[in-house]
């Protein structure tokens, strides 16, 4: 050891950050195992539910249902896009893997929405909280995923549930940020008008702020979805199944075919989900002069029913 020098004090004076983290982690693992088990539980339930549903729907039915959903939400072009992307997924032979990945993504988006939207709303109301949360969000977005992959494995083990957890960590920030932004950007005069007519804070939120912030919040949800998809590959390192696993295996074995098929599957899934959520956002920002049930397949069915009824009446008369 050299003498302490003012010119280069870091030879001597350092903070053992790594050691601290390690001992903290050891402490947590030893003493709070039950807490982490408890956190696993709800994620496990939601994930299993979604995955079971998606896996048990036969591919053809799944494609038809998705196309109808696309039509309902965003018109016939979306229906066509849903049909094409999902059929391609089946054709390249990754249907089952895609459904696993979709289940993972939907689960993490669900939890992101449950955590992120309320957090964004609270941030929009309190400048101080926003100041605290902001660096945290920065860290969640910029910290390399590999850094928290290891502690997550130590605390939660391996498998799909910890995979969802690391995905939530990575995908949550844009939703919080954009919910916060959307609510802060609601024009002051609308807020003032709502106050002048006697809105309680709750009515202000549900009747004015959230509806006006919806397009921004939907953009946040779209970002969250995209980030979850990109995280799936990294999460496959802790034994998360699905398309990411294919990519990882392909890289490991230098099997370019396998990796490319997995990658293409991810891209197709991303296109499908991105267009769908964007269309949902655009729809809420436009003023629908028609109710949602008056358009799309539901509208067609209702119109058919409507035209059938007078026909019956005519018959009886």
């Amino acid at each position: 050891m050299s003498e302490f020098s003012l010119l280069d004090p870091f030879q001597y004076a350092t903070i053992p950050l790594g050691d601290w983290v390690e001992s903290t982690l050891k402490f947590l693992v030893h003493n709070f195992r039950d807490v982490f088990r408890a956190i696993r539980w709800p994620i496990d339930q939601v994930l299993n539910g979604i995955e079971f549903t998606l896996q048990s729907i036969p591919p053809s039915i799944g494609i038809i249902l998705s196309s109808l959903l696309g039509w309902q939400l965003a018109g016939k072009r979306m229906a066509l896009l849903s049909f094409v992307t999902l059929t391609l997924l089946g054709l390249i032979g990754v249907w089952s893997e895609s459904m696993t990945t979709l289940a993972l993504v939907l689960t993490s988006v669900f939890f992101c929405a449950v955590i992120g939207v309320p957090l964004g709303i609270v941030c929009a109301r309190s400048n101080r909280l926003e100041q605290v949360i902001r660096p945290l969000l920065d860290a969640m977005q910029t910290l390399p995923a590999f850094v928290y992959l290891v502690p997550v494995v130590m605390l939660f083990g391996i498998g799909n549930v910890p995979g969802v957890l690391v995905t939530i960590v990575f995908a949550l920030p844009p939703l919080v940020r954009l919910t916060n932004l959307g609510i802060r950007q609601v024009p002051e005069d609308k807020i003032e008008a709502a106050r002048a007519f006697g809105c309680t804070p709750r009515q202000m939120l549900t009747r004015v702020q959230l509806p006006l912030a919806t397009p921004t919040i939907m953009a946040g949800l779209n970002q969250t979805l995209m980030l979850s998809l990109s995280m799936v590959v990294i999460a496959s390192m802790i034994s998360v199944g699905g398309l990411g696993q294919m990519v990882l295996r392909g890289i490991g074995r230098l099997d370019m075919g396998l990796a490319t098929v997995g990658g293409a599957g991810l891209v197709l899934l991303a296109i499908f989900l991105d267009r769908l959520t964007q269309a949902m956002g655009a729809r809420t920002s436009a003023d629908p002069s028609l109710r949602w049930y008056q358009t799309g397949p539901v509208g067609v069915v209702l119109r058919l029913c409507d035209s059938a009824k007078p026909a019956e009446r005519r018959k009886t008369a």
């Binding site: 002048a196 006697g198 009515q203 009747r207 006006l212 002069s289």
Partner: protein, 384 residues
């Protein structure tokens, strides 16, 4: 505290914007001016010691240039802005110091507000926008929609219920804004430069509409404006604000005839005062030029060019040209076209120009009140 005909009374209201209102208030009470307070503490005085009362059923216009505190003032009534000091009474009940719940009630039931920027909700249809206040107060859907429809038909928007605000013109949007405020059936309508964003023609139309609605419903309206034409057209009384102070309150005529200071006077610069002033405001009574008819032969003092003959009850019989040997000129019906004290001045101009003598002015009972000469007219018009 308040008299029966006063719906709102304002007592020594102050509003200080900034983080140290207490310091600013101390300085103000010890006699510092607005500018001194701003230089020393950085606190901005929005409203400075305002006291006045608004009568039930009148259109009360608060006028001032931008930054004079008029928009702040109107927001103090429903406490969108909290006053720093002073009291406001609504029907004798103090609004300042109400609990949050009671305040919500006042906003929902007693006051409706119309905004310069319309402030309609873009995600709601015209009907939903109009019913917004009712929905907030928890009125059932059926009732609030029927009341909203009624309000929309009052402002001439029946049939537009299912449009969205962005599909309407500015004038129509503000009609929705007005309907939204009327749907709650508030005792007081607060209008913050409600027509300033509209083009002149539509603005004129909306002013007429407002006057009509007020005449029908006898609602108290507090109207904020920076436009003197608008204020005089719709206002029963006008309060003029300057730098947070209320400098003068009065009817349009009072403000024109006795402006409190140069600031008030400058408001009427370029304003055609002949449209507001009445013949009675200008008429003067010269006893030397008047002769009661009970004197057998009318005698006028020398130097009076025209004499006015009255009967016992003060009614005008005729005009005498004293230069023509003091003989009474015959009463000429054409020449005695009546001008009354409440005839607008701009209608008098024409008559005065066609008569050789000063125009006699009568009250509505027909009694002679005085005369208006051409010189007086010219002086009056050039003064403003």
């Amino acid at each position: 505290m308040s008299r029966a005909d006063e719906i709102i009374s304002v007592n020594n209201i102050y509003k200080v914007f900034g983080n140290q209102p207490g310091v600013a208030m101390n300085m103000l009470t010890s006699g510092a001016t607005k500018n001194e307070v701003f230089e020393k503490t950085g606190q901005v005085i929005g409203v400075f010691d305002a006291s006045f009362a608004v009568k039930r059923g009148e259109i009360f216009v608060i006028m001032g240039l931008s930054g004079s505190g008029k928009s702040t003032m109107v927001r103090l009534f429903n406490r969108l802005i909290e006053p720093t000091a002073g009291q406001i009474y609504l029907n004798g009940r103090e609004i300042t110091g109400l609990s949050d719940k009671a305040l919500l009630d006042v906003r929902r039931k007693e006051m409706g507000m119309v905004f310069q920027s319309f402030a309609l909700m873009p995600h709601m249809s015209v009907l939903e926008n109009t019913a917004f206040g009712l929905e907030i107060s928890g009125v059932s859907e059926q009732e609030r929609h029927s009341r909203a429809r009624e309000a929309l038909s009052q402002v001439g928007l029946a049939g537009q219920e299912h449009s969205y605000p962005h599909q309407l013109s500015g004038g129509m949007q503000q009609r929705v804004g007005l309907a939204r405020a009327l749907a709650n059936d508030p005792a007081i309508l607060l209008m913050d430069e409600a027509f300033s964003a509209l083009d002149p023609l539509i603005r004129h139309e909306m002013q007429g509409e407002l006057i009509r609605l007020q005449a029908e419903q006898k609602r108290t309206i507090i109207f904020i404006s920076h436009d003197i034409e608008e204020a005089i057209r719709i206002g029963h009384r006008i309060a003029i604000m300057e730098g947070g102070r209320v400098v003068q309150i009065g009817t349009p005529q009072e403000l024109i005839n006795q402006p409190a200071n140069d600031y008030v006077r400058t408001f009427f610069k370029g304003f055609d005062s002949s449209r507001v002033l009445k013949a009675g405001d200008v008429a003067s009574f010269d006893p030397a030029a008047v002769c009661r008819v009970n004197a057998k032969a009318p005698q006028f003092q020398l130097g009076v060019p025209f004499g006015y003959l009255l009967n016992e009850r003060g009614a005008l019989l005729g005009v005498v040209d004293t230069a023509a040997a003091g003989t009474p000129a015959p009463c000429n019906q054409h020449q005695l076209q009546p001008v009354y004290t409440d005839t607008p001045l701009h209608e008098v101009l024409d008559i005065a120009a066609s008569l050789p003598y000063p125009v006699p002015v009568l009250d509505r009972a027909g009694a002679f009140q005085g005369t208006v000469s051409k010189n007086q007219l010219l002086q009056t018009l050039s003064r403003h």
